[in-house]
């Protein structure tokens, strides 16, 4: 079958041409409204009004009026009735809809069963008959469509404000009641215009699904509407062609295409798609494992050797996983494997230090700001460390007042150069050494004050007289003073040469 056969041959028939135009119109009108129904949570109102149209069609037939007017009247009346029930009783909107639309629907059935005529074909009203669209029907659909689109276009910003923040809309003086009824009227008119094409049962799908597809893909109304229109048109068109070639009912086929598009978006959509989310989660899990590997390799390295067996034990994964991870990191230039031991490159070392820094900062944060007991923070920080960029770590550091140690007492490495290498606490110095104070831990202002009172400040040169369990005796600026262990351990020094 050629493309010509697929797309052009069906259009040789006048009824197919009319069907095509009708499908395009309905796809567009319903899609535009579907966006507002979705955000207003009125999906069920669409359902309600579409069913309530049935008695109108029957009445119109009995009174010999155009069925369009009968349908709009009962549609609008039911919508108003729902509002009235909601306002004047304790019944909530969903139940009010259920009561009134089933009532109206039943009335429609009763009337039609009374008519017993072939002129009103129940099946066509319920499920549409796009192939039987007359020129008059088409004109009517075109006019209603143009009217609906014009109103939405003119009232676009008001409709958005009202659906987003109804209170502020009212406070700004928008006629919220008017907007409410306008949207209801538009909905009724659109449903009636769609009767021939998809029928009153399936129009609900065209009033919900396109908006829902677009909602999953974009996050602003101004983009959601064109996208929904695209979905509506694609559904209507491909539904029509499919129904022609497969020789099946056209209205339901359109709805099935729309439903398929929704399912596809749900599974594959780049933002919320189930498949992508799963892939992202898997990637993130991989990343976490690689980072943990790097960190453990660094820690093992500082405590001796990072052998593959030791890493396997520390990470709780089999040796062959360790080898695979090491190979991946080696390709990235972060580690090297020598004689079944992992050696970090300078770059790998730096990354590991960043992770440790992030981990310890998070622990500090959880304890200081989150009020989490320090015994419980490790596991949490183990997850959070992977979230931190260098930038975030810097912000955390700043917000915490540049702490020196994590809640467990391990030092928090600073900057890219990592832990201040070559510094020792005053308590770790030897008798008779000359040292320079490079940093005083400032977590406890009281400690800082007392050290400052004794003249122990960064930049000061000290002579260590004696290190004893009860304190460190030092000469500072010719004065001898004793620092109790709590104070002495807060003083970081380098060799004074």
């Amino acid at each position: 079958m050629t493309l010509y056969d697929l797309f052009v041959t069906p259009m040789q028939y006048a009824f197919m041409q009319r069907a095509l135009v009708a499908a395009l119109l309905v796809g567009t009108i319903c899609a535009v409204l579907s966006c507002f129904l979705l955000v207003k949570r009125w999906a069920l109102l669409g359902d309600a009004i579409s069913h309530a149209v049935l008695p109108g069609v029957a009445f119109a037939y009995l009174l010999n009026l155009p069925f369009f007017f009968g349908a709009v009247v009962t549609g609008v009346l039911t919508a108003l009735g729902i509002s009235a029930v909601e306002r004047h009783t304790r019944i909530k909107e969903d139940s009010a809809m259920g009561i009134l639309f089933t009532g109206a629907f039943a009335l429609g059935f009763v009337l039609i069963s009374r008519i017993r005529s072939r002129a009103v074909d129940l099946f066509h009203i319920l499920f549409g008959n796009v192939l039987g669209v007359s020129d008059a029907d088409l004109l009517l659909t075109a006019i209603t469509g143009a009217a609906v689109l014009a109103v939405v276009l003119l009232l676009y910003k008001e409709l958005v404000l009202w659906t987003f923040d109804p209170m502020a809309a009212a406070a700004m003086g928008l006629p919220v009641g008017g907007l409410h009824y306008t949207l209801m009227l538009l909905l009724s008119v659109a449903i009636v215009a769609s009767l021939q094409t998809v029928g009153i049962v399936l129009v609900v799908a065209m009033l919900i699904t396109p908006g829902a597809v677009a909602y999953l893909l974009v996050d602003r109304m101004s983009r959601m509407i064109p996208l929904a229109v695209g979905v509506g048109i694609i559904s209507a068109l491909s539904g029509l062609y499919l129904s022609y070639h497969l020789n099946v009912a056209s209205g339901p086929t359109m709805v099935l295409v729309a439903t398929a598009l929704f399912l596809l978006t749900m599974l594959l959509g780049p933002r919320e798609g189930v498949v992508w989310s799963a892939i992202r989660r898997r990637r993130a899990a991989q990343q976490v494992l690689l980072e943990d590997f790097l960190k453990q390799a660094y820690l093992a390295d500082t405590q001796g050797e990072a052998s593959v067996e030791r890493l396997s034990e520390r990470l709780g994964v089999p040796v062959r996983t360790v080898t695979a991870l090491a190979a991946r990191l080696a390709r990235a230039g972060l580690v090297e494997v020598r004689d079944s031991a992992v050696v970090l490159s300078a770059q790998g070392r730096q990354r590991a230090i960043e992770l440790i820094r992030s981990h310890r900062l998070w622990e500090r944060y959880l304890v200081d700001r989150g009020g989490v007991p320090w015994t419980d923070v490790h596991a949490e920080a183990e997850r959070l460390e992977h979230l931190a960029t260098a930038e975030l770590a810097a912000q955390l550091d700043e917000a915490l007042g540049r702490p020196m140690r994590d809640p467990h007492g391990s030092p928090i490495p600073r900057g890219a150069e990592g832990a201040r290498e070559g510094t020792r606490r005053l308590t770790e110095c030897r008798d008779g050494e000359t040292v320079d104070v490079v940093e005083v831990e400032d977590e406890d202002p009281e400690v800082l004050r007392r050290l400052a009172a004794k003249g122990i400040l960064p930049g000061v040169r000290l002579v260590v007289v004696r290190v004893e369990p009860e304190g460190v005796r030092v000469l500072a600026d010719g004065q001898e003073t004793v620092l109790e262990p709590a104070l002495a351990s807060a003083v970081l020094t380098t060799d004074g040469r």
């Binding site: 009232l155 910003k157 958005v160 404000l161 209170m167 406070a171 700004m172 602003r220 959601m224």
Partner: protein, 254 residues
């Protein structure tokens, strides 16, 4: 000459389904004040704010904004609803939300122009949310969302700002940022009324406190009204109404 009060509420009674929410409230709020509207849950704080902007119809009493009915001065009054009144999943980005502040100046049918967009950008800059202009509103933290709504009020160029429970779901640090913004708006001459059920900051953060529990318990500077007796009457349970009525009767005796 005494200036016209920014908000003047006289003998205001509002009820929902025949249950009174606020009763006979009379208060005058002068321009340029940062006012805390405090009271327990169900005290009618939201109702009072809504009555001021004309969102609920009073059973009796009047509200005047700068001496005029609200309908005449709507663009002057910005209202920030409670968090729960807004759909945070709405497909809308920060910039578009702030742009809504321009609508009262545009009227029906007109589209916002480049000038409006400039005002919006300036408002976002003021609240420090410029970098988030393209973010969907639900992706922000509670505090950031409140700042966006403050920016909307700024874009509206309103001289009266009414906020309903802006600190719900906001952490302490962000709360401070929002207070700072509110103070700045007050310094620019705006009148700011904040409904809050949180008493902890009320004493230090506001120029005036309005204690409400269905009736107006007190209105004045925190130093004068933040007293145990008045707070007891505001928060002291269901008896309040009777007590106040009793006191009135006592007061009326010769």
């Amino acid at each position: 000459m005494k200036e016209v009060p920014a908000i003047e509420v006289r003998n205001l009674t509002v009820s929902y389904r025949s249950r009174p929410a606020i009763r006979n409230v009379t208060v005058q709020i002068d321009p340029g004040l940062l006012v805390g509207l405090v009271g327990p849950n169900g005290a009618g704080k939201s109702t009072l704010l809504k009555a001021v902007v004309g969102l609920v119809l009073p059973d009796s009493g009047t509200v005047r904004i700068f001496g005029q009915p609200i309908e005449a001065v709507r663009p002057q009054v910005a209202y920030v609803p409670q968090r729960s009144e807004v759909d945070w999943d709405y497909p809308i980005v920060v910039e578009e939300v702030v742009l809504m502040g321009r609508y009262p100046h545009l009227g029906l049918l007109r589209r916002p122009g480049p000038e409006d967009r400039q005002i919006v950008r300036a408002a976002l800059r003021q609240v420090g949310m410029e970098a988030f202009a393209d973010r969907q509103i639900g992706q922000l933290s509670g505090g950031q969302q409140q700042r966006v709504f403050l920016a909307r009020a700024l874009a509206q160029e309103a001289s009266i700002l009414l906020l309903d429970e802006p600190f719900v779901g906001v952490d302490a640090a962000t709360e401070e940022t929002i207070y700072a913004l509110l103070r700045r708006m007050r310094e620019e001459g705006r009148t700011v009324v904040v409904a809050t059920h949180d008493l902890s900051r009320a004493q230090t953060s506001f120029d005036r406190l309005l204690l409400l529990n269905q009736v107006l318990v007190a209105y004045g500077p925190p130093k004068e009204v933040f007293t145990p007796a008045l707070l007891q009457r505001t928060y002291g349970g269901r008896l309040t109404l009777l007590e106040v009525a009793d006191q009135k009767r006592v007061g009326m005796r010769p």
